[in-house]
Amino acid sequence: MKRKLLAFLLLSLFAITSAMAQNKTITGRVVGADDGLPLPGVSVRAGSAGTTTGSDGNYSLSVPSATTRITFTYIGYVTQNVTIGATNVANATLVFDSQQLAEVVVQVPYGSISKKAFTGAEATVTSAQIQKSQVTSVSRVLEGLIPGIQTSNGGGTPGSSAAIRIRGIGSINASSSPLYVVDGVPFDGTISSISTDDIETVTVLKDAAASALYGARAANGVIMITTKVGKKGTSRIAVNLRSGLSERGIPEYERVGAKDYMELMWESTRNANLVARNPATGANFTRAEAGVAASAILTAPTGLGYNPYSIKGSGLVDAATGKLNSSAVLLYQDSWADALFQSANRNDLNLNISGGAEKSDYLLSVGYIQEDGIAKFSDYDRLNARLKVNSEVRPWLNAGLNIGTTFSNSTGDFATGTATSNPFYYSRYMGPIYPVYERDANGIIVIDPVTNQKKLDWGVATQMGARPYAANSNLVGTLALDERSTRRSEGTANTFLEVKFLKDFAFKTSLGGNFYNGLGTAYQNSLFGDAVNVTGRSTKSDTRNISYTFNQVLNWNKNFGDHGFNALAGHENYSFEGRFMSATRTGFPFPGVVELAPAATLSAATSFTDQHKIESYFSQLNYNFKGKYLLSGSFRTDGSSRFYVDNRWGNFWSVGAGYRISEEAFFKKFTWIDELKLRGSYGQQGNEDTGDYYSWQGLYSLGFNNVNSPGAILSSIANPELEWEKNVSFNVGADFRLFNKLDGTIEYYERTSQDLLFSVPLPLSTGLSSILRNVGTMKNSGVELQLGYNAVRNTDFDYRIDLNLSKFKNEITKLPQAEIISGTKKLSVGNDIYAFWLREYAGVDPANGDALYYQDTKDAAGNVTGRTTVNNINNATYYYKGTAIPDLIGGITNSFRYKNFDLSALVTFQLGGEFYDGNYANLMARGTYGQALSVNMLRRWQNPGDITDVPRLQRGVANQDGISTRFLYDASYLTLKNVNLGYTIPKSVFSKYGISSFRAFVSADNAITATKRLGMDPQRTFNGTSDFTYPIFRTFTFGLNVNL
């Protein structure tokens, strides 16, 4: 549509300038390099002569016979000069300049605006950039391309999305997530339900001037997703086929093997014995006795329980030296990782048919994605279709419909925490001596006499022993029999009707709806594992959300000489209804059936409905003088059902100003400055997302039934004073283009979140843990830089570098109480929301191997006089130790084109910030029977005088370990996020088959990740803590883009 629109503008400009020279006529055809389709409206010039291409891309131009060169210019494309040969034919293939096109029009609330006239802060990525990444959710594309955003990777569960924060962390207890708007309608579905092939642009609105018109929910920024439209006057078929292979993107932590494990666990047991009483003597164990006892218990049922070696009993590990008997043969060694993980396939096929006649356009797109997980028994598949039709029914009436539907199915919705059913947690911490398959005394795999298959080992006493780690489980067995799936049906339907009247007015009404249905199944099989004792358990849950946005907007556009006005006013309703129902039954007569009907016993059933509504009135005025001085203002008032009637309405507004200084006459002498715009904005937006739809109400929670009597319990106390959280934001920036090569934007912002919807802690002894109140203030400030440099640009070779850098600072400036400690963080005035509050590790006491921690020493008055070390972690002093907020984040894209080859590489990085790696801490425990150990345990303290940073092993040691700086690491990382190498097959090869372009490519996503600790994923969370979630994956893809 953009291309067509531009064509129209240019046609009207240049059609009248047709040349009248006689000498010779040059003809030719101009096509786009990206898709090989004809480009209508391209300016074709030779000296004073000029014309434009027609809708078929052809042109004919009379030029003086001496003319040797023709210049092709088209907005959004790189200008090209072509030498005229003897044939008088000059064809051109124009290269798309994403940066330039993005600058033309910006998607903003309730419409679009010329980038040059815009006073707000935004950044846009286009389909060309999006399609370089082979990802299912568009949320994974933005990292490294847009300044001012921070992403957490959201894990690697197939079909999952990344989480995004725009310009710092906006809220402490309410949501900090941006608002997603798809084709002008706030989006409530799953982001991964939108095919990336359907998306034309993603625009991130960052400041008040850009987003305040979505005042109600714009406090944390807005992500505007705009889908493609058919191009008038063309018809086109595009086929995208991608096929790839995925593997783990973050390597697993290195852990010790069987021999080291046996010796380390022996040492851990021996050391535990040293501090215990020997029942035989009544005194503490001597070192010799402790060793003997350790050798005796090591492989016993109360010890490790298993022994994979040929030598059994106490002879396996020498009681004096702790060394494994050199004649012991390892009988088996299974890899749980090999058994549970796989190299995964990813296939993605999309068909896009689009086009348009004079008065209407259409787009039909159908896509299918099948994405296996890197953990077996997990996958995602999605079938999506979109139909978009717009029509100019009458000169004064436009109407359009945009329907998108998605059916997806994900399996392997694994638990993310320490549940045994989480394969990542399970395999990481499983000791190396525990087999997947049951072994007999000789280490030979036991064959199940019934099935004739290898028999799995469940870690129960009736098989090889009660495995001390995750007894009664074998995920290879249960994951195959269990089901954890979600089937989703999602749809969006947007319609609009626009009436133009009185020349300058337009009235547009839009109705956009979202539908989401998710049918969840959580089935634990009846044969093995957690639900054996109830012969299977199945939970079916049904989530059905419907939301709609209905608005009416009046628009007025008028120029009075040099004064340009644009005003709009409107009204909007938003309504959300979520229905949830679930039931659980147990007692399945036959394996393999997951439906509830055959199960004997009801074990739970519930249902509820939630509603959320917002009503809004809004207005906006833009003014420009000669396109040089720009002013904008907006005002919006929103009422939310989350607040009590007296405090329901919030007022949000913005003012913005821009000054295109490069348009001033006095500035024209700086010929190297093509464009320079200074702009600023100030305004207030709102946040009402408390995560609870009834925040102000005092409620009793139902369902606490006592046998057959209904019961309820206090869940919240009334809080009618609760109101909107406000976000006051200030932005100044400059957009520039220099030497016709370097373009960019630099910005500074301050966002102050005030009247925070704060979950104010109450003394637990009141029987309540917290109450929501509007208290607290937090400030985010930062700078952003985006630069693009067209280093080389000619017919055969292009090279462009894009760089963006972001830095922000977060500071709490007001709190309801002096400090609030939560996990590894402490909130206090003057510090940031993710500042670590930890005990400080002081290393290992060389004398005894104790872990040491710092403790402040104080004089009688309580003043800190210095510090000492203590070996009881409970006596250690807590300190502020860094923050999870990085010093700098950014991305660099290098794009090359040589003839028909194109190559781009995106590198993203973070400098600074800290990450607490609890995953690793678990592997450095002092010896828990059954649990795996890190290879770094090999440098533990062993003998007096040892200098090391790893304390001695000792099972059950008390008051030595806990959360401290010992496991806090620099979170800096560097990721080769995406590399994409393509080759466009010359048209001559295919054109006889009706193919207008054919590009083949290979790409790698998350190709290389470098972090300070192997295994650590610093992008896991914004707050710098680890969990046991599905790691991200690296994907290698081969793909074809074909246009007919």
Binding site: G570, Y700, T766
Partner: protein, 474 residues
């Protein structure tokens, strides 16, 4: 330039109400509504707090109090639940989500819900008898919960009366109260129990979990014993058990999971209201592959087991040494188990007549009445062991009653209360069949050592103006 175009929707458009909750003000308009709040409060007593598998209301505290004593050993460390409690480290951590924080939060949440009922019941519409019944139960619940709080967060009553106890609330407020003295907490407990006893005269239970007058007397007996008010303890105990004859031997070995004649008070838990993995039986029942007992079977110590005569039917609820199976190691308990395989329906015991007999016996012996003490002991134990003869003298009867408490009430949550009350040190037997160094870690602890005390949650100290860091237990 602001143009007003369309008038907005009706005012009601922005009024929404949840379906899973009801507005608080509507709950107490009638006694029937108040009864809903009361039933919810009882239900909360077996709720899984925060979804944690180690928290399931009162019985999680009971289990904690047993693993912190001398008589219950944990077989291994497998999934790790209750190991830290066993090692005396869990309750020393004041951080959120820990044993001490959850215990504090659990009891105070019950108390607050009881306080709301007590405050609002008088204004509700409904029969006076219903009001008395509901109020009496709420008062008794409040007393019961304060009793456990004060015993966990401070040493026993006697000799510590003036020490800081726990904050006392008699009405629902959202500002924190300071720690009341131990004596003040007990004063409130006694006042509530007396009021409850009066209000509940002649009232019947509508659910098994409800508190009736006999229950109040039973709780009172337990409290009086802790206070060393022997005569009250003896009297209330005898009254409490009068309508609740001892269970048969067949019932005794049936798993302590189905309410019977002897149960004065318990929580009846149907399958659909069970908390499954986060339940008492998840940590006890070894007959099915339930979950957290896996590799962590709860065992009686050899030291105590050897003191049970072979003929005593109670001995059969523990695995005979030398007959271990893969799922039942030597000395492992089978006293508590799920009644029906495939179902989590299993009742929780809170108060039964046997404890009353034991209180009667000990209290009478301490009062010097050996005759009554001997009668009570023999009435309790002869049905379990026909050959049983109680000692004759008061001092011997005290010793015997205390031993019988350890045997009879094993696993029912009395170990810590009794060690504190009797000012006994922790003294765990070690060696085969007893505690193992790698699991129990701690074997001895002097009586009234600060290590016995639960830590006040840090979040309480941070959020309350009335409790500051100096108020934390030493």
């Amino acid at each position: 330039m602001v143009l007003t175009i369309l008038s907005g929707c009706k005012k009601e458009y922005l009024e929404t109400a949840p379906t899973g909750s009801v507005p608080s003000e509507g709950v107490f308009t009638t006694t029937d509504g108040a009864l809903v709040a009361l039933n919810g409060t009882y239900r909360y007593m077996w709720n899984s707090l925060g979804g944690s598998h180690g928290h399931f209301g009162q019985k999680a505290v009971d289990l904690t109090m047993d693993v912190m004593g001398n008589d219950m050993a944990i077989h291994g460390t497998s999934y790790g639940w209750f190991n830290a409690e066993n090692r005396f480290t869990a309750h020393l951590n004041p951080a959120p989500g820990t044993r001490s924080a959850f215990t504090w939060e659990y009891y105070y949440r019950v108390i607050n819900n009881a306080n709301i009922i007590i405050k609002n019941i008088d204004a509700a519409t409904g029969p006076a008898a219903d009001k008395d019944n509901i109020k009496g139960q709420a008062l008794a619940l409040r007393a019961y919960n304060y009793f456990y709080l004060v015993n966990l967060f401070q040493h026993t009553y006697k000799g510590n009366e003036t020490k800081p106890g726990v904050p006392v609330y008699t009405e629902p407020i959202i500002t924190g109260n300071p720690r009341g003295t131990v004596a003040a907490v007990y004063t409130q407990i006694i006042a509530d129990l007396k009021a409850a006893e009066t209000l509940l005269a002649g009232k019947t239970k509508k659910q098994f979990a409800h508190i009736n007058q006999a229950t109040v007397k039973g709780i009172y007996a337990r409290v009086a014993l802790q206070m060393e008010d022997w005569s009250t303890a003896a009297t209330k105990a005898a009254e409490a058990r009068s309508a609740y004859p001892l269970m048969s031997n067949a019932q005794y070995v049936a798993g302590f999971s189905v309410k019977n004649t002897e149960w004065i008070w318990g929580l009846e838990i149907p399958n659909d209201q069970a908390t499954i993995f986060a339940s008492f039986f998840s940590h006890f029942d070894a007959n099915t592959l339930s979950y957290a007992q896996l590799g962590m079977q709860k065992k009686i110590t050899k030291e105590l087991y050897d003191q049970i005569p072979a003929a005593d039917v109670r001995k059969s609820t523990f695995r005979t040494p030398g007959t271990a199976t893969s799922t039942f190691p030597d000395y492992s308990q089978n006293k508590f188990r799920l009644p029906t395989p495939g179902s989590w329906a299993a009742d929780y015991i809170l108060l039964r007549s046997s404890e009353m007999y034991l209180i009667e016996a000990e209290a009478n012996a301490r009062l010097g009445d050996a005759g009554k003490a001997k009668t009570a002991l023999e009435a309790l134990i002869k049905p379990r062991n026909a050959a049983y003869v109680a000692p004759a003298t008061a001092p011997d009867l005290i010793t015997e009653a205390l031993l019988q408490r350890r045997i009879e009430l094993w696993g029912e949550g009395f170990s810590l209360l009794d060690l504190k009350r009797l000012k006994l040190p922790l003294n765990r037997a070690s060696g085969t069949g007893n505690h193992v160094a790698a699991i129990a870690v701690i074997f001895t602890l002097p009586s009234q050592d600060p290590t016995w005390l639960f830590r006040i949650p840090q979040s309480e100290i941070d959020a309350s103006d009335a409790i500051n860091p100096a108020d934390q237990n030493p």
